[in-house]
Symmetry: C2
Subunit: 375 residues, 2 copies
DNA sequence: GAAGCGGCAACAATCGATTGCGGTGAGCAT
DNA sequence: ATGCTCACCGCAATCGATTGTTGCCGCTTC
């Protein structure tokens, strides 16, 4: 169709002889272990042992070298399916998350991927779309694929699915959220420490009427953070009456809805501790709509420090959580479990957060919010 | 070791007879096809056919029912490895991206995942960390795992890796970026249309001195968008001299560096068309540092409309690209290719974008920027 | 010089599902 | 009663790699 092929042909003579083009346009048959064995003049079994780091000792050094060279010459790539079938080890780990477009998860995925692929593992990702049913079927499908283990970020507080996995002895590590039972190892953030840093920070700024926009009670983060809030408030001797509002999910709309309820209740407040950044965003949106300005009229803190939180106006004061490290550590825990025949590790690993003070918190100046918008 | 077993034993009598707890704490042996066959009283081969939608016709209706029921009763889940080994089809597709923490990619991943899992496929994700070497090794590893095809978002303009894949006949679909050769099907954005919308918008606002912060020339998006910029400028009869600055990568720092060069050059401008949102962000940061305010002193447009772009101050005017749909369409194209024995589809599918006018563009008021910061 | 031993490699079974081919029996026609 | 067709099902090979066991060879040792 185009002129270029012809042009190319004409100029070929003057061009230095490069590698021949598209010799392999017909799919090349994959080289198998037998091919390597034949090339090296040994039995496939011997070739297998020569190529396996653990069994290499059972083969003569010279033979090993012959086999290895043959393998390289032929470009041998072992068939992982066949190997997996025989060894029931696939070197694949599954990561289950509710929604990859939620900025919370990409860093976790990345941290896990890094560790896993460094260890020769492949990561299969499944996005459950926040739906327990697809989660269930996805996990079943992963098991059919013979994955060696799971990293799960979708655990609910009561989670039959997780119990099944635990009972079945499938190596499984929980990340970000845990379940009520502590059967499975867990890697998460130090929620208590994070929340109390927020409360302390606000209290130090002179806030007394602090409310908490809590996460859903069917998540461990929702429960742990609201509990931490209560404890921190008590320690500071601050009022707790109707200070905790549970949101239906970790989303902006749920945050906005929570604040709507707060405003309707007439509960006065000068500061909000939100259980995560999205909740905080939704709250701010709603409060702006009500004519309230942050941080002049109220202060607010988030949790997680998602990307772009520093670019908002005002930039969000929040708790930075080492998300990538969480993913990485979850992966390491999983690898440990898979690698050893030992008992499943029971550890609950909590990573400390860091309070990043930015523009949404300031010393209390004016009267509580309820007096501004109230009837 | 623990006290619980004893306690449980003692209390058993008084507890209503529920399902026995943890009977399966010893890993349950997985049920295989033979088990189903035995349960149904048929040969494994028959069971296989009865369970396979395509071969079901070769088996008596009643037998099919028996087998299906046996399979359900036993909770049979076929071993995908064994099947894949035999059929050389794994029902796994690999998605290769440079960096999952870049907000551009999660929507693409999600779109692809959705389509793939609906079709019974599993998605394996590999994050190349923007490194061609790990990309190469990852792709090799995926092939070893017998994936049925690739969706690749990391293609460079000259990309030997992609050519190898194309030559080897491995089903591969390019998304977001394409290569110079059009051997492989591609799903991307309508860059020309997107960029010309930006230029038109700015020109309509009275801007004449528009510059382009271009993406790297080793990406198709960098090349296509800068070409589109030139064309659009010519059509509007606007000055092109030193109006295009290539940035070394699609990142904020590269955007800032590009603007630094722009300011040093003394080239006057009142508006910037950035090749993507990150470049725009970096540029704005750098210009703020120089004391310039957007949109008072200059206008700027981005590309992609990443999440949170609407929350910046001022919110970014940008081209919204249907990223999830791109991922979905790439997945559909791949499935078509895998499903049919036909020739690889050659299509280049370009999805139209939409200009989202927000706060970073306004009518030109003052004098060009160079006159403000110039010596 | 024969028994014994160690090192190395080949043989063959195995993982679990799929599939070409052959065999059985029922049903029908001659 | 014999032969034939057709529907249905079983046999066994196969995918590619791993691994327990066996067998061979050569060397040591008494």
């Amino acid at each position: 169709m185009r002129a270029s092929p012809q042009r190319r042909t004409t100029s070929t003579a003057s061009v230095p002889a490069g590698p021949p083009e598209s010799v392999y346009s017909v799919p090349v048959k994959r080289v198998r272990l037998v091919d390597v064995a034949r090339e090296a003049g040994v039995h496939p079994a011997t070739a297998s042992r020569a190529l396996s780091p653990s069994a290499r000792g059972e083969v003569n050094q010279r033979t090993v070298r012959r086999v290895v060279q043959a393998a390289e010459r032929l470009g041998y790539v072992p068939n992982t399916l066949a190997r997996g079938l025989r060894t029931s080890r696939s070197y694949v780990a599954a990561l289950v998350i509710p929604d990859i477009t939620n900025s919370l998860f990409p860093p976790i995925v990345r941290g896990a991927e890094q560790v896993l692929s460094a260890a020769g593992f492949t990561l299969v990702l499944t996005d459950t779309n926040n739906d327990p049913d697809t989660e269930r079927s996805q996990i079943a499908s992963m098991q059919a694929h013979g994955v060696d283990g799971f990293i799960i970020a979708t655990a609910r507080w009561q989670d039959a699915q997780m119990e099944e996995l635990a009972e079945a002895g499938v190596p499984t590590v929980l990340v970000n959220r845990r379940t009520a039972k502590t059967d499975l190892p867990f890697v998460g953030a130090e929620d208590h420490q994070g929340v109390s840093m927020c409360v302390d920070h606000l209290a130090d700024l002179g806030h007394r009427n602090i409310v908490h926009l809590a996460g859903p009670a069917d998540t461990s983060t929702g429960r742990d953070r609201s509990e931490a809030f209560r404890i921190a408030m008590r320690e500071r001797q601050l009022p707790l009456r109707s200070a905790v509002l549970e949101c239906s999910s970790y989303s902006e709309t749920a945050g906005a809805a929570g604040v709507t309820r707060l405003l309707e209740s007439g509960r006065s407040f000068t500061a909000i501790v939100a259980a995560n950044d999205l909740l905080a965003l939704g709250a701010m949106e709603r409060l702006s709509a009500a004519g309230l300005h942050c941080p002049r009229d109220y202060s607010i803190t988030g949790f997680n420090d998602l990307s772009f939180m520093s670019k908002l106006t005002p930039p969000l004061t929040t708790v930075r959580v080492p998300l990538a490290e969480m993913g990485a550590q979850a992966a390491r825990t999983l690898l440990d479990w898979i690698g050893s025949t030992a008992e499943p590790p029971r550890l609950q690993s909590l990573l400390p957060g860091e309070l990043i003070v930015r523009g949404t918190t300031s010393a209390v100046e004016s009267s509580p919010v309820s007096d501004l918008v109230g009837a």
